[in-house]
């Protein structure tokens, strides 16, 4: 493949970042916006070209005997740690990276376009676009990484762009602390990632994904059976790498940053915290999947964490008021879904269908979750509040938003023929294939998903009209915002029919999707039940929800407070680490170590002051000492002579 296109795909966003970042101050908003959108549009076109060429051209470079090839389009040396352990920067083209190129550029372009309307009156518009470009660059760099270290590099870069974008409204203390929290929590997780890379690369002596995944047995052999605390080193490495993924993908217990990250502008939430960055963890596991297959313990760990997180986030989502928070928890839950699907994948079970379905869900979820977030943005834009208590009955005022939002909700709930149905169905099939417990558990989560999404939908668009509408009539968003909504809604409607199994599978061989009727029916019934329950409770104004809430106030409050995870973290970090640990160290430094050093000085000074008294400058004192000394010497001499 020609390397111009891949290079341009990375070069355009980063140059946009530099141009808008350095020259943005001098530009008008319009120039900056147009430049940003044009840049992203070009990247979109190029990425589509690359992806479609890869998938559909049939070129023997890309597909040989039905096996899709992995190829490093370019791979330049960046930094050599040792002779063998060399960090490259490159562009790896394979099914998942091609798919991610499409996802990222699509969502990013939609968000660029949408932001033109949404952020129109915000100060720092140019800065916003430059940060968006930086993020797009980092995310693209992450997915095309040829080696795990390149992934780590871009991993950190997406972290920082996320930090910058969450803290975009930097004058709000809440945004500042949310951005800080996001960065530090993910940074903490990255520590695990880093140690994992250290371990893995030490034993395998390579960073390269192709070398790792094409020869997983070799990877396993290279550790030479070394163990640490009962688990093999490879398990440790893989689990630690996954910890990095847990941070970025907001798995429990590192999920606390994602709901707070909603302090950022809503399009940013759609791009980063719904569609792209948060799935980096899933992508990471998918990328390393053959190696993970070597250690079932690690996969089990992934599955368990995913299952717990999915349920937890779904429960919490049922009790939130802020619509962006609901969507955030829904995102956590859905990503956990993908994680479980990856975790249950075994080559023997439906030819590793879990992997395919996970990627499929990643794709569809990116589309409909971005749609939902952008829809939420339109709502917030119209109502100027994040809480559904300020909304209600909006379907008449904002028809476009209403319909697109409904499509999004149906898609996420997994109703045929919307996208979510297909991907979720595949995932559930894979889970049932592994163990019925996972399947049942996740089906329940799917039901909860339908419930809380429609709870939100009904509360926002039905329920009863907010009286404020009379003074300030909400209306649909301008075209820059509506176009992305309509486009994404359309994608959500049709993308389920993409023959995904033909394109993306764990062993890159085509896989023919067939709907498992039993699983499909179950999940549809469960979803319909969830929707029905939501409709029964929230369609019209009534007292049932309040009664339910009052019936179990403790549970409601706990779920509303997200089961006190934040408080727990605040306690640990602020009270224990910050106040007790850091302060005592700072105190120790000043009052023990420094005091010791000052003590040396003081002792010296005291001694010198004491001795100084003898140097009184008084001749007479000198004479006394001199004379007494002379007498003493004479006396001693005399005694010796005797």
């Amino acid at each position: 493949m020609d390397i111009t296109l891949p290079i341009l795909i990375l070069a355009i966003p980063i140059s946009m970042f530099l141009i808008l970042g350095i020259g943005g101050v001098k530009m008008s908003r319009k120039t900056a916006g147009v430049l940003g959108i044009l840049g992203m549009g070009t990247t979109l076109t190029l990425a589509y070209t690359v992806a479609f060429t890869y998938f559909f051209s049939g070129d023997p470079a890309f597909i040989v005997d039905g096996v899709r090839q992995q190829l490093q389009v370019f791979d330049v040396t960046w930094l050599a740690f040792t002779d063998t352990l060399v960090v490259h920067l490159g562009f790896l083209l394979d099914p998942i990276s091609a798919m991610m190129l499409v996802v990222i550029t699509t969502i990013s372009f939609m968000v660029h376009l949408y932001s033109w309307g949404y952020m129109e009156h915000e100060p720092g518009f140019q800065r916003y676009y430059s940060f968006l470009s930086l993020f797009s660059f980092s995310m693209l760099g992450l997915v095309v990484a040829t080696n795990i270290f390149q992934m780590y590099i871009f991993w950190e870069l997406v972290g920082v762009s996320s930090y910058l974008l969450i803290g975009f409204f930097y004058k709000l203390p809440s945004a500042v602390s949310a951005s800080k929290k996001a960065f530090i929590v993910t940074r903490f997780a990255d520590l695990g990632f880093l140690i994992g890379i250290l371990l893995l690369s030490f034993y395998t002596d390579t960073f390269n994904f192709m070398e790792l995944t094409h020869n997983p047995e070799g990877v396993l052999a290279s550790t030479g059976g070394a163990t640490f605390m009962g688990a093999s080193v490879l398990t440790w490495a893989l689990v630690l790498i996954y910890v990095g993924g847990m941070g970025k993908s907001a798995m429990m217990p590192l999920h606390i940053w994602l709901p707070d990250a909603m302090e950022g502008p809503t399009p940013v939430s759609a791009l980063i915290h719904a569609a792209t960055m948060v799935v980096a963890g899933v992508y990471l596991v998918a990328r390393m999947f053959p190696v993970y297959l070597m250690e079932e313990t690690a996969l089990l760990f992934i599955t368990c964490v995913g299952a717990i997180t999915a349920f937890y986030a779904a429960v919490v989502a049922c009790c939130q008021i802020d619509i962006k928070r609901i969507l955030a928890f829904s995102t956590i839950s859905q990503i956990a879904f993908m994680m479980v699907a990856l975790g249950v994948t075994r080559p023997g079970l439906h030819d590793g269908m879990g992997y395919m379905s996970s990627m499929f869900h990643l794709f569809t979820h990116a589309m409909f979750k971005a749609l939902l977030f952008l829809g939420a943005g339109a709502l917030i834009h119209a109502v100027h509040s994040n809480n559904y208590t300020e909304m209600g009955g909006l379907r008449k005022y904002m028809p476009i938003t209403h319909w697109t939002f409904l499509i999004g909700c149906l898609a996420i709930a997994g109703i045929w023929p919307f996208a979510g149905f297909f991907s979720k169905d595949e995932m559930l099939t894979a889970m049932f294939a592994n163990n019925w417990i996972w399947g049942a558990w996740m089906t329940m989560v799917a039901g909860l998903t339908a419930f809380y999404m429609f709870r939100m939908y009904f509360m926002v668009f039905w329920w009863e009209e907010n009286p404020h509408y009379k003074e300030h009539k909400p209306h649909d968003a301008p075209w820059q915002m509506s176009v992305p909504l309509i486009f994404l809604a359309a994608v959500s409607c049709v993308s389920g029919f993409i023959p995904f199994g033909e394109l993306v599978t764990w062993n890159r061989l085509p896989y023919h999707i067939h709907i498992d009727p039993q699983v499909a029916t179950t999940s549809l019934i469960i979803a319909a039940f969830g929707i029905g329950l939501a409709a029964w409770l929230f369609m019209k104004r009534n007292h049932k929800p309040a009664a339910m809430k009052n019936a179990m106030p403790g549970l409601w409050k706990a779920a509303n407070r997200r089961f006190y995870w934040d408080e727990f973290y605040m306690f640990v970090t602020h009270k224990i680490i910050f106040n007790i640990f850091c302060r005592s160290i700072a105190w120790f430094d000043r009052h023990v170590i420094d005091a010791t050093m000052d003590g040396f000085a003081k002792v010296t000074q005291k001694t010198s002051v004491a001795v100084k008294g003898m140097q009184s400058g008084s001749i007479q004192a000198y004479v006394v000492w001199y004379f007494l000394g002379a007498v003493a010497v004479a006396a001693i001499t005399w005694i010796c002579l005797l």
Partner: protein, 103 residues
């Protein structure tokens, strides 16, 4: 009763001790100088006595004393010049007042 060498040396020692006492205790510069002269004088007396009793045929002790007197004169002259200068500078001749050179 013979006037042996000790008869001269003992007063000399006592005079010297007086000089030391005066030198250490007095605060007036001139008084200190006076004490110094006492000590010098005691030393002179020693030279002379030793010369007379132990080496009566020679005259080193006497000559030494002679020079010592000359040098004492020189020293006194300079010391007094300095004292007068100090007096001009600080208004008295108290040794405790002269602290500018301390440390």
């Amino acid at each position: 009763m013979d006037l042996g060498i000790l008869w001269y040396l003992v007063p000399s020692v006592l005079m010297f001790a007086c000089g030391v006492y005066g030198f250490v205790t007095r605060k007036n510069l001139i008084a200190i100088l006076i004490s110094l002269e006492l000590m010098l004088n005691a030393a002179d007396l020693n030279f002379v006595a030793f010369n007379r009793y132990i080496f009566p045929g020679q005259m080193e002790g006497m000559i030494f004393t002679l020079f010592a007197i000359a040098i004492a004169a020189a020293e006194t002259a300079i010391a007094i010049a300095i004292i007068i200068n100090v007096y001009r500078a600080i208004g008295n001749t108290d040794i405790n007042e002269i602290k500018k050179l301390k440390f």
